[in-house]
């Protein structure tokens, strides 16, 4: 166990319980060799940021389908920053309108936004590309 494993926190912030996407992505990441830490549902931004910190993850993946992404994502990014984890890769999935996705990326809150229907390979390859060049 000498190789550095990439650790990914998969979190469901906010109140919606639609975890199909989060779980499918978690399994896809596991099967692509990542170490996935799953927080479970209904997490506050503070809980997500604290889990990211304690687990010393390289990537935070957020799944949001309730429409609260414009509030939750920037808040989580800020909390990560104040924990000294501003450089952690932050990816978002869920029902995110195009305009909002652009704004999240442009403002630096998220590194990438994936929409429903995104093939698993695209997601795992995106993350792999950031760590195994």
């Amino acid at each position: 166990m000498t190789a550095k494993k990439v650790r990914v926190l998969v979190a469901k912030p906010g109140l919606d319980g639609h975890d199909r996407g989060a779980k499918v992505v978690a399994r896809g990441l596991r099967d692509a060799g990542f170490e996935v830490i799953y927080t479970g549902l209904h997490q506050t931004p503070e809980q997500v940021a604290e889990a990211a910190l304690q687990e010393d993850v390289d990537v935070v993946g957020l799944s949001i389908l309730s429409g609260a992404h414009m509030t939750l994502v920037p808040k989580i990014k800020d909390l990560l920053k104040s924990n000294g984890m501003g450089d952690v890769l932050l990816v978002v999935g869920g029902i995110i309108p195009e305009d909002d996705a652009e704004e999240l990326v442009k403002s630096g809150s998220a590194d990438q936004v994936f929409n429903p229907g995104e093939p698993l390979d695209n997601i795992t390859e995106y993350i792999s590309g950031k760590f195994y060049k």
């Binding site: 906010g14 109140l15 919606d16 319980g17 639609h18 975890d19 199909r20 779980k23 499918v24 978690a26 399994r27 896809g28 596991r30 799953y38 479970g40 549902l41 209904h42 506050t44 389908l65 309730s66 429409g67 609260a68 992404h69 414009m70 509030t71 939750l72 029902i95 309108p97 195009e98 305009d99 929409n115 429903p116 229907g117 093939p119 698993l120 390979d121």
Partner: protein, 553 residues
């Protein structure tokens, strides 16, 4: 079929098979969206065992395979019930009145996530979620605004609410009383199906046992005071959306239904006193024939078990009435206009399957809440099926199809097999505790995704014919002001109401929760003095505790 004829057909079938085997097929296996292999041809050999009288019968007659009403859509078209709600009660009230003006025949309320989870709009957990994916309702005051100028004795309302169903229902009833309408005139549905929350949708509040008690309290109160109300809508919709197969949706939903029946019986209620008010809610996914067979099998299983296992005698207890919604998970963010076509196919399957009411998704729902224009197209889709397509002219038009009858039987058999496995786990609640349903669904969801990723399952515009073009449609934006406005009004309410009365009502509620008495009258008392949903939930949590998620993947 006589023996000679059977032999002849068998011979001919084998001959045909040999011929057909010579031609190359496009794929090695042909499967439904649920990974069910489908044969190239179905013949009388597949339906040899079918007994028309015993297995199909006539519409409105046991076992109701062909439909629960004698004349089905020739009597009355299904209820076109578009699920909607967003922003605050004022915004949604306007949308409801628009839909009623457009010819919609029933209302269906979508609540926002804080309301669904039992949090008031000013709770810190509600931040960013108020009015986002439904309407924000905190108190009776909001309910009064939501139904302003809507006559609740003439319009039936369906409310998609589960964990806190009792509270929102009491608000609805209290509003009706304030409109001067007596409770026996009020009709509608609350979803109130907590089991599928643990299984699939994951919007739970209390642990299973107190949740089941709230449900049986609703059964009992409704039977005495609100006889036109459908006290539960046992839902497969969310099970399917969470990734299940058609057979799992069918089996798990019915298993939940039987669990509620048993809970009612165990609470001392006569089965025919509450079972007529049980209703169902299914998904209409994209695999046209499999869906139709699912509905037909569902009616037959329900009728048979209710009669044979639970001894129901009232034929209304045996008739499975259900609402259908087209599959949100079949919609794609890519080329969203294609979703209109998907929804049309799905809606048609629901109609062919004999649904009592229908929601058609709007093309943009995979991107945001629907715009007025998108909702209108979705509603028009139903109207075109109803009035132009001819689908409503005759009852259960696909009956007798070798394929459809065989698949109906097969789905029934698979459901029976699942019931056996659930029994092996010690029943639905124990199976939930052991993660049985959750794991089955998670596995099916992952398999489906892999099939899409491998191109075995084609999704047009996603893994085939993907032009990479960006969606060019307008989306509904929720004004962030909504949250501030709602929180502001809630603050005012807390100041102007009689807070002593609120505290007294909550205390009485907690005391009753500790004992065996029906909770509904106490909840009704609390909402009438404008206790908020969040306050009532907190009071009940103190007695009941909270449910925690099972770690399953």
């Amino acid at each position: 079929m006589d023996k000679d004829k059977l032999e002849r057909i068998t011979g001919q079938y084998e001959q045909w098979q040999e011929e057909a085997g010579k031609a190359k097929e496009r794929k090695t296996t042909f499967k439904t969206v649920s990974s069910r292999p489908i044969k190239a041809l179905y013949t009388p050999l597949d339906t040899e065992e079918l007994d028309y009288e015993k297995d199909l019968g006539f519409p409105g007659i046991y076992p109701y395979t062909r439909g629960v009403q004698t004349n089905m859509y020739r009597g009355r078209i299904w209820t076109m019930r578009q699920f909607s709600g967003f922003g605050d009660a004022y915004d949604s009230n306007m949308r409801y009145r628009y839909l009623l003006d457009q010819g919609q025949t029933g209302l269906s309320v979508a609540f926002d996530m804080p309301t669904i989870m039992g949090y008031d709009s000013d709770n810190e957990r509600s931040l960013g979620e108020v009015g986002r994916c439904g309407v924000a309702i905190d108190s009776l005051e909001d309910m009064e605004i939501l139904f302003d100028q809507i006559p609740v004795d003439q319009v039936t309302t369906s409310m998609t609410i589960n964990g806190p169903a009792s509270i929102l229902w009491c608000m609805y009833l209290a509003n009706a009383e304030k409109q001067g309408i007596s409770l026996d005139q009020v009709g509608g549905t609350i979803q109130n199906d907590i089991l599928k929350e643990y299984i699939a949708q994951k919007s739970w509040i209390f642990p299973p046992e107190p949740s089941m008690r709230l449900i049986t309290d609703i059964f009992a109160f409704s039977a005495d005071h609100v006889p036109r109300w459908n006290t539960i809508s046992i839902s497969g919709y969310h099970i399917r959306e969470a990734g299940s197969t058609a057979a799992q949706e069918l089996a798990f939903t019915l298993a939940d239904g039987f669990a509620y029946v048993e809970a009612g019986i165990n609470a001392g209620l006569d089965v025919d006193r509450f079972a007529p008010r049980l209703s169902f809610f299914f998904n209409a996914h994209i695999d046209f024939f499999e869906e139709i067979c699912k509905y037909r099998a569902a009616r037959r299983i329900w009728a048979r078990r209710m009669k044979e296992k639970y001894g129901a005698k009232d034929e209304r207890s045996l008739k499975m009435r259900f609402h259908t919604q087209t599959a949100g998970c079949s919609l794609t963010a890519q080329e969203p206009e294609n979703n209109i076509v998907r929804t049309t196919i799905e809606a048609l399957s629901a109609v062919m399957g004999g649904t009592q009411s229908l929601h058609t998704n709007s093309m943009d729902e995979v991107l945001a809440l629907p715009t007025e224009k998108a909702v209108k197209i979705a509603l028009r889709t139903q109207q075109i099926i109803a009035y132009e397509s001819g689908a409503a002219n005759t009852i259960d038009p696909l009956a007798g199809s070798y394929f459809v009858e065989q698949l109906t039987d097969q789905l029934e058999a698979e459901a029976e097999e699942y019931f056996r496995r659930i029994d092996d786990h010690g029943g639905v609640l124990k199976a939930i505790d052991q993660g049985f349903f959750q794991q089955e669904i998670a596995d099916a969801a992952y398999e489906y995704q892999l099939a899409v990723d491998r191109d075995e399952q084609v999704v047009v515009g996603v893994n085939r014919y993907n032009t990479g073009e960006k969606a060019q449609i307008e989306l509904l934006k929720i004004d962030p002001e909504v949250e501030m406005k709602q929180v502001g009004r809630l603050k005012q309410l807390r100041e102007k109401r009689d807070n002593d009365a609120v505290n007294r009502s909550l205390k009485a509620l907690k005391d009753t929760a500790k004992g065996p008495d029906n909770l509904i009258p106490k909840i009704l008392d609390a909402v009438k003095v404008y206790a908020t949903e969040g306050e009532i939930v907190v009071a009940l949590k103190e007695v009941f505790g909270e449910y925690k998620e099972k770690p399953l993947f």
